[in-house]
Amino acid sequence: MTTPKEKQQPQIGFVAGFIVPGMPQPLLAPEKSPGWGRVRAAFEVLRERLDALKPDVLVIYSTQWPSVLGHQIQADARPQGVHVDHEFHDLGTMEYNFPVHVPYADAYIASGKERGLHMRRVCFKGFPIDTGSLVALGLLNPDNHVPCTLVSSNMYADRAETIVLGKAARDAAQKQKLRAVAIASTALSNRLWTKPIDPTEDAISSQKDDEWNRKLLEILAQGRLEDVAQLARQFAREAHADSKLKAIWWLSAALGSSNDFRGEVLAYEALHGTGAAVVELRPGGVSRGEQEFDEDDVEFFRGERSVLSPSSPGSKTPEKARPS
């Protein structure tokens, strides 16, 4: 039996974590649906809380920025351009011009390499910024007063690699002595309606998905983020999760793989059938003691292929393109 106790809020590192949807409706067309409007309103509440935290950097992991070669980190000091969503191009155009915290981005790349990850620095004029990142930035940081960096979602990375990526984000914030906010841009269930809909009648596209979403949100509202991360595989199987729910793996690891948060669900609605939640997680909740988790807590990524090879603990043997 453990004794609940209040934890202190950190002054550096990640001071909060947010879960937000990456669909464009709340940014481009909140007026078309009461539900989309409520998601927009929740973003606005979250924006005020974000401002109060006075962060130095926003770190956004978006499931809509896929990568193949390792993990890409946006390090262009000032990405600018125009983006049109590939699916909902009729909703309009997103113009962007935002600052990136380049020292943090570089520190993140270095921290990831120290933990065995293949990290890649992205700094190219005209590089396409994804819808999820732009929705988060457009609604949480509309005047761009907080610099950010963006993190890709490697399509082959599973849990071990993704939580190491989250830990590297945490390392970098602490080493740089920055107040950071981690933002996971992801849907919960990700089953879109396959036909156009009347926005006023939008709903979660499957009752089963809805039930699973609500269960996850019930746990998140108790601040039990790591418990949700441990449920990700089952949720993905049952509810057509957005990218295996790997954004939650990243977020939980970045925030310290703990259940000791103060959680609040600010909105839960459907965005074209997907489960869209706006959730705030703040360190300093009631401690529930040490948990017995089913999954390993991985510190260092050793590659995905040599699972049968007798590599010694601590050896750095990344995946090679050519067999030795």
Binding site: V68, F124, E319
Partner: protein, 299 residues
């Protein structure tokens, strides 16, 4: 209905091509549109495209229709429907290799006819009319490698994610219906069309690359299983057994992690009404572990 060849004949498909889109191939060609420069690389595939271009050089066609995996949609099949696009395409996955200045024209009328035919067949279709839209790199790369002069208008069709949402079998049925609708639209339009299926065969990538991306000492298939599947599919294509290709496609897609999941090849073979003439395999090669073939069917 406008008949572009002014002969009163129905339109037709001139040729269909499996035209994969690894950005590495454009990178290694060093065309003026692409910013990064390469020393060499992936010659077998690039020379295969060269053979394709030579084969097509005597053919007169009005339009290129491309089905692309890198414009993924869920709410139906989308088609570009803005007359002109110009911009810089930076590959979000390989930005160090592909930063390409594109300037292309769209055959909007044909796109509208394909969309209408699709709707008649019970498919959900959508015309993309936002002029700020960024054309996907699958479309650009397959069109560039097949016909680099860009002097023909194109129609670009998104890849509907029905295979991911339901099953590869459901995805197949959807793409077969889209292929038939595309063929009917071409015939109605009077156009002579070149069709491109912009996809690889097996599609498991290495997640790292060598210091010099075009260092070919590192290039090989990801695993033997994928190679065996790729060869099996090519053997059937060369034997003119396209219906068997379709029959085995769900297994191939699942077991070789194939990019055919996007439906491009199924769409192509259905549009050509499952040709029994042997296909010409201009090249097979790997790109960071994925299996790619340039394959031509003449109609």
């Amino acid at each position: 209905m406008k008949n572009q060849n002014n002969t009163g004949r129905p339109g037709s498909i001139v040729a269909g091509v499996l035209a994969p889109h690894p950005p590495h191939l454009v990178y290694a060609e060093n065309p003026p549109q692409n910013e990064p420069r390469a020393e060499c690389g992936w010659e077998e595939l690039r020379w295969g495209y060269e053979r394709l271009r030579k084969s097509l050089s005597g053919e007169d066609f009005d339009v290129i229709i491309v089905h692309t995996p890198h414009w993924r949609t869920v709410v139906g099949h989308h088609l570009l429907a803005v007359p002109h696009f110009k911009g810089l395409s930076v590959d979000p996955v390989f930005p160090h290799l592909f930063r390409y200045n594109y300037d292309l024209k769209v055959d909007v009328e044909l796109a509208e006819i394909i969309a209408a035919e699709g709707e008649s067949a019970g498919l959900q279709t959508s015309l993309m009319r936002n002029p700020k839209f960024r054309v996907d790199y699958g479309t650009i790369i397959s069109c560039h490698l097949s016909h680099p002069t860009w002097n023909k208008p194109i129609v670009s069709i998104s890849s509907n994610a029905s295979a991911d949402y339901f099953s590869t079998d459901v995805g197949q049925r959807e793409m077969i219906a889209l292929g038939h609708a595309t063929r009917a639209a071409i015939e109605k339009s009077g156009r002579r069309a070149l069709l491109l299926a912009s996809c690889s065969l097996s599609h498991r990538h290495f997640t790292e690359e060598p210091q010099v991306p075009e260092d070919m000492t590192y290039e090989h298939i990801y695993n033997h299983n994928q190679y065996l599947w790729d060869m099996r599919m090519l053997k059937m294509m060369r034997a003119g057994e396209s219906r068997r290709v379709i029959a085995e496609m769900p297994d191939f897609t699942d077991q070789a992690i194939s990019e055919t999941r996007a439906g491009c090849l199924t769409w192509l073979l259905a549009a050509m009404n499952f040709p029994t003439t042997p296909a010409t395999v201009h090249a097979y090669g790997t790109v960071i572990g994925t299996g790619n073939a340039v394959v031509e069917w003449r109609m």
